[in-house]
């Protein structure tokens, strides 16, 4: 088991390196391959209508004239040990982990990310709990009576849930429950300040996000349960004289849930990297909204930072999923 953990962790580290390389390639290599000069690229890192001096400064700070391997080295070095940027009159220290520095707003990206992360985590975690509980419950009940009225109606709703775009359900929830009948708060309050208020504000966002995901999870759980409940070991469990509830939960659900862990881990990881649309719709100042801000302002470093963060979360989630899977399914540890 320990060697399995070590192997997976090692693989995750490798994966992280690959991810940084790909990110670097997207943000520094691809534009050059597409024919942009160093000047043009530098301009993208500073925003609209910069002066020639600004461009030159950015270019030298990012080392855009350096050979590629040096550029990548600086990129990695920045993340690991921070970077110093010479901004004419002053120098600015971008502390490790330096996920970038916005030359436009003169703000380090990492502190921005960390300050916004609680909002994103609140959103993702709350929604995740909601969709996991409701999705799995609906999926199990549907699977136990396939073809029943309950099954058909819920699978219909689930289909609708998957098909409705976030900006529709989100805005609708917002319109109905925050403006029409103001049951829920409008401004985000940190959990540490006022948990009730925190939940109250986030509730419509959770619901909208959970509607989408729980529909997917209900379908996943349903098909997984249908398959599992036809397995031989379920028949064995019944032959032991176990109560049907125990057969379903201890034997059926346990086996059917394992693949769902995988999907769940990836979804959560992705969501922590910023729920762009949800955060925008509900005016939550989270990580995703930061990226959207960057896009609007034509400011690349925040986008680069959020991309790196999202990749980091996915890799970590992937690792956790692997470990969870091994804990759940003893057969995995072998290989």
């Amino acid at each position: 088991m320990i060697s399995y953990i070590l192997r997976r962790t090692f693989a995750a580290v490798i994966l992280l390196l690959v991810v940084t390389a790909v990110t670097f390639a997207i943000f520094f290599l691809l534009p050059r391959l597409a024919g942009q000069t160093a000047d043009q690229l530098a301009q993208q890192y500073i925003g609209k209508s910069p002066s020639a001096a600004d461009i030159a400064a950015v270019k030298s700070n990012l080392g855009l004239d350096d050979p590629l391997y040096l550029q990548y080295w600086h990129f990695i070095k920045g993340i690991v040990s921070g970077a110093t940027y010479d901004l004419g009159p002053t120098t600015t220290q971008c502390n490790a982990p330096c996920f970038g520095y916005s030359f436009k707003t003169h703000v380090e990206v990492w502190p921005q990310l960390t300050s916004r992360l609680p909002v994103t985590i609140s959103l993702a975690a709350g929604a995740a709990v909601m969709w996991l509980v409701s999705g799995v419950a609906i999926g199990v009940i549907s699977a136990l009576k396939p073809g029943s009225f309950f099954d058909r109606s819920f699978m219909g709703v689930a289909l609708a849930g998957v098909s409705l775009p976030m900006f529709f359900t989100g805005n609708l929830a917002l319109l109905l429950f925050t403006y029409q009948w103001p049951i829920f708060g409008r401004t985000y309050v940190p959990f540490t300040e006022n948990p009730a208020q925190w939940a109250n504000t986030l509730f419509p966002a959770w619901c909208s996000l959970a509607l989408l995901y729980s529909a997917i999870y209900a379908r996943l759980t349903r098909s997984g349960m249908l398959e599992t409940m036809n397995e031989d070991f379920i028949r064995t469990a019944r032959a032991k004289g176990l109560r049907e509830r125990k057969v379903v939960v201890r034997h059926g659900l346990r086996a059917a849930l394992t693949p769902i862990i995988t999907v769940f881990g990836m979804d959560l990881g992705l969501l922590l990297g910023g729920a762009l649309i949800t955060e925008t719709v509900f005016s939550l100042h989270g990580v995703g909204e930061y990226a959207v801000q960057g896009i609007k302002d034509n400011d690349l470093p925040p986008i680069l930072g959020v991309t790196l963060l999202a990749a980091l979360f996915v890799v970590v989630a992937n690792l956790l999923v692997d470990l969870l899977y091994a804990a759940a399914d003893p057969r995995v540890r072998l290989s």
Partner: protein
């Protein structure tokens, strides 16, 4: 019900509500599954008895209804996804209790304690995520209000009894860490942990190698001697039947075509299908220089079971009885002698003649 009245023990027509004297008695069992294509009559009027300490082998090919029968006894058809659709009728008496009409929860309490089952493929029949020991502990604690520790001791004791080396260590293994034979032993330990009086084994050795099969059959025989339980062994292998059974029931198309003591079934089989099974089988114990004598054609559809005798389209002797009785009248089980019954329109003289003159010399 004719066949019941013919048994030596029961004189006259027993009324359906009579509790039988036999330990396990199945009367006119029918298990039908409605499907989109029609009603699948998996079991269509099956009756037999079994006493404690005896082994009954149910023999038949795939689709003959032998596994469906075993699941019906265990009450496992009511459950599950399609459980609602199953149409079951008849009676199943276990130790004086009627199971077909009984409260499902009462039947559940009997499952695992009074009747237990082992399956063909022990790898898929065990939960892959739980340790062997815990699966046995669970089986024990369903019916015994004891601590986990006590149950674990019992599990180790059972693993030891079924011949698993180092049971104290292997109790914590997962099913995939066992070999096929070991898994089937563990499965048997799990089935016997509550000392059930009826053990149903559904093709328990089909997935195993022949040397392991010999070990497992030996084990089942020994355990039966030790616990005095009744065993229903479902198999397609007549070799296994000859090895272990006291009585044999041959099924074809959801019905019993022949039933009797094992010696008589092998020496004086009374049904052309039984002859077909014996003739189809290559023998290891003697040189069969001649060709095998297969049954022609395909097994019957359980939706459109042939009229009259279900075997008539494949029976080489279907034209011997006068008229088209084989095509129109379903033969009932008739007593041959003692506990030996056969459902065939051929006269007993014809059957004896065909067997001794045509079939037996070629085997």
């Amino acid at each position: 019900m004719t066949e019941l009245s013919k048994t030596g023990a029961a004189v006259g027509e027993p009324s359906p509500s009579d509790a039988p004297s036999a330990f396990l008695e199945v009367r006119d069992l029918k298990v039908h599954f409605p499907t989109d294509d029609g009603l699948v009559k998996s079991v269509d009027g099956l009756s037999f008895q079994l006493e404690k300490g005896k082994t009954l082998s149910i023999v038949g090919e795939s689709g003959s209804g032998k596994s469906v029968t075993s699941l019906a006894i265990m009450g496992l058809h009511r459950l599950g996804a399609r459980g609602k659709n199953v149409q079951m009728s008849g009676e199943i008496w276990l130790d004086g209790k009627e199971l077909v009409g009984a409260d499902p929860d009462e039947v559940r309490k009997l499952r695992g304690r009074e009747m237990a089952m082992i399956f063909q493929d022990p790898l898929s029949a065990m939960h892959p995520y739980y340790r062997i020991g815990n699966q046995i502990v669970e089986a024990y604690r369903v019916h015994h209000d004891v601590s986990k520790k006590v149950a674990r001791t019992r599990a180790i004791e059972m693993l030891d009894r079924v011949g698993i080396p180092e049971p104290g260590k292997r109790v914590d293994s997962y099913p995939h860490e066992f070999s096929g034979g070991m898994r089937q032993r563990a499965m048997i330990a799990m089935a016997l942990v509550n000392n059930p009086e009826l053990l149903i084994a559904d093709e328990p050795t089909t997935a195993l190698d022949v040397t392991v099969q010999a070990q497992i059959l030996d084990l089942i025989r020994d355990l039966q001697k030790e616990f005095g339980s009744a065993v229903v062994l479902i198999t397609h292998d007549l070799g296994v039947v000859a090895e272990i059974a006291d009585d044999v029931l041959v099924m074809y198309g959801g019905r019993c075509v022949e039933r009797g003591p094992v010696d008589e079934i092998f020496e004086q089989p009374q049904h052309p299908y039984t002859w077909g099974l014996l003739g189809s089988m290559p023998r290891i114990d003697r040189e069969t220089s001649d060709r095998l004598i297969p049954v022609k054609g395909q097994p019957p559809s359980l939706i459109n079971v042939p009229s009259g005798c279900a075997f008539h389209p494949r029976c080489p002797y279907a034209d011997i009885p006068k008229g088209d009785v084989t095509r129109t009248v379903r033969p009932e089980l008739q007593q041959v002698d003692g506990g030996h019954f056969s459902a065939c329109h051929l006269s007993q003289e014809d059957r004896t003649r065909i067997w001794t003159e045509e079939i037996a010399p070629k085997l």
